[in-house]
């Protein structure tokens, strides 16, 4: 482990001192010099150096050193000035893990004008919020967010860092992992601490056919992206206290190499997100015609649920792409999932098999969806679904 500086290659361009967040690089004649006591090996200088004159060797962490890494961190993603649901789920889970370890929960909040969100994270159970607030973080960009994460992680040495497995979480986490030479487990559905205080990360593979338990024995922090909706957030407790630490992260404009020209929202007015809804009513090719989609919509409205679709009906344009469930669409795990006229192809199931309760209605008794259903009805959706709607209405009026 260490910093490698090739003085021969260095042209003295002085880009690296500008990007060092730790004041570890100084001009030294027509070259630079490094203060290794200040350097945390975050890699910003390596990244910016046009001459490849700086290298960082990072690898495994010595057994004795592993104990230096403490606390469970959560990257708390925001969108349009709000925290994403998965941030609350992960803070709750982090609390549980941290309690087992006797360590703290640290929520990382990066964005622009997001300070007011910090208290929600404390009420959710975080001991501390690390707040990085600057205009440059207004849009999510891989480069700016990676620099911020690495700048926070490198000197503070957390033992665990969790990210929601959203599109941004799965963009950011591998970038941080590669910069710091860390293991990373994707899209986990289970997290626990074992007898040796290691993070046990459970995830589905092969389209949900098999589960794997993954460890990172020699690297710290241990990092994972975690599927939204799998862990339920606890109730927020406004009597919880914690502190907010503001951290400044220096980022040069030319370090952010992608520019967001436009955000396009495809969320249709009034259409709930399948990822965030607690109940999802999903239709497949069995629905036959787009005009029939009023039927699942009626069921969804009754249950305050989102409507989704299998790939063929999204490809046909009957529902927007945001509503597609499965491998090339969204991966979801609501507490209740209805599959209406869906055969249960593996590419579909991999996107919903971690749902808590699965209901399947299909004409074909051999349809594979029945293999993973908790409650299956062999029948015609156009007869069964209206009957279900009737029954639910009855139940709701009785209450």
């Amino acid at each position: 482990m260490g910093l490698i500086y090739d003085k021969e290659k260095c042209t003295g361009c002085m880009l690296c001192p500008k990007v060092c967040n730790f004041g570890a690089i100084e001009k030294d004649g027509d070259k630079v010099k490094f203060d290794l006591d200040k350097c945390v090996l975050c890699g910003s200088c390596e990244e910016i150096c046009p001459e490849d004159a700086i290298g960082i060797e990072r690898k495994t962490v010595d057994k004795e050193k592993i104990a230096e890494y403490k606390d469970v961190w959560v990257w708390c993603e925001t969108a349009e000035g709000k925290l994403r649901g998965v941030a609350f789920e992960l803070v709750t889970k982090a609390r549980e893990l941290a309690d087992k370890l006797g360590e703290n929960v640290i929520a990382v909040l990066i964005g622009h004008e997001v300070e007011h969100l910090a208290e929600f994270l404390i009420h959710q159970g975080a001991d501390r919020v690390l707040l990085v607030d600057d205009k440059i973080f207004a849009d999510y960009t891989t480069d700016a967010y990676t620099i911020a994460m690495v700048t926070l992680i490198a000197p503070r040495k957390p033992s665990i860092v969790l990210y929601g497995a959203t599109n941004n979480g799965r963009d950011l986490a591998p970038r941080v992992a590669a910069r710091m030479a860390l293991g990373l487990t994707a899209d986990c559905t289970g997290l626990d601490i074992d007898d040796e205080r290691q993070l046990v990360q459970t995830r589905p593979a092969f389209g949900g056919n098999i589960m794997a338990e993954i460890l990172c024995p020699y690297t710290r922090p241990q990092m994972a992206t975690v599927r939204p909706n799998v862990f339920k957030p606890s109730d927020r407790d406004t009597s919880c206290t914690g502190d907010i630490e503001k951290v400044e992260v220096k980022i040069g404009a030319n370090q952010v190499r992608t520019r967001v020209l436009e955000h396009v929202k495809e969320v249709v007015e009034g259409m709930k997100s399948v990822e965030e809804a607690d109940i999802v009513v999903c239709s497949g090719r069995g629905i036959k015609d787009p005009s029939n989609l009023t039927l699942p919509q009626e069921l969804a409205d009754l249950l305050n649920a989102a409507v989704g679709g299998s790939r063929p009906i999204v490809d046909a344009g009957w529902l927007p792409p945001t509503q597609q469930v499965g491998q090339s669409g969204r991966t979801i795990s609501p507490s209740l999932y209805f599959a209406l006229g869906i055969s249960g192809a593996i590419q579909h199931c991999s996107g919903m098999s971690s749902s808590e309760i699965i209901i399947a209605i299909n004409k074909d008794p051999e349809a594979p969806i029945f293999e993973i259903a908790d409650f299956g009805i062999v029948g015609d959706i156009f007869e069964v679904v209206p009957a279900i709607i009737e029954e639910i209405k009855k139940l709701q009026s009785d209450r």
Binding site: I279, S328, S350
Partner: protein, 262 residues
Amino acid sequence: MKIIVPVKQVPEVAEVKVNEETGTLIRDGVPSILNPFDEYAVEEAIKLRDHYGGEVVVMTMGPPQAKEALWKALAMGGDRAIHLTDRIFAGADTWATAYTLARQIKKMEYDLVICGKQAIDGDTAQVGPEIAELLGIPQICYVRHLEIDEDGKHVIAHRETDDGYDVIKAKMPVLLTATKGLNEPRLPNIMGIMKAKKKPLEEIDAATLGVPEDDLGLKGSPTTVRKVFPPERKSGGIKLQDVDAKEAARQLVEFLAKKGAI
């Protein structure tokens, strides 16, 4: 335009079965295919080359039979292939895979690296961003529409987000990961298939790559799989057959109410 497309051979997951007794995957007799998301990447690379000139290099890290995935990509229209193959590479996790691929890519010239969004066996979507970081270039993940700016130096990409998409501009070289919607991958025709095996295919082992063994394969992987097991089978899922719709609906709603699900 010089484009590198890392591709992976994967088992046709729809055909993978689990041995109920041992809880392991039965892979024997399961056909191998070119990862479907990589087809989008290959297709886009070919289209760009046909328009702007240049070269499409497809590369994989994998066992000898992974060549078939390269042949498929060459049959679609790739110009040449690189096969990183050595027993030392075996057992690599995403970091070690990305590291190995990046070490090779660093020796090459490129404007674009296009990966698939994810490989359908592991579904991690990590190798692309990890390669980008190791190359020190920007990344745009989950691209479903791509344009090259008039100046010929920038890409403008539609990147899928949780709520829609972002339009993102970046200067080349840049790494993209391709997802559904980017294009309609072509099926290789007979001519393409015949030509494929005559196209240059270079095999590279660990020694040629010049990377110490400790950084490769299982040894170079920070993650370890402690165990694999079948997903919890829903114990005694209910299945109603030949039950009248009204009665079935009544039982279902009763079931849901009891579970507190509605």
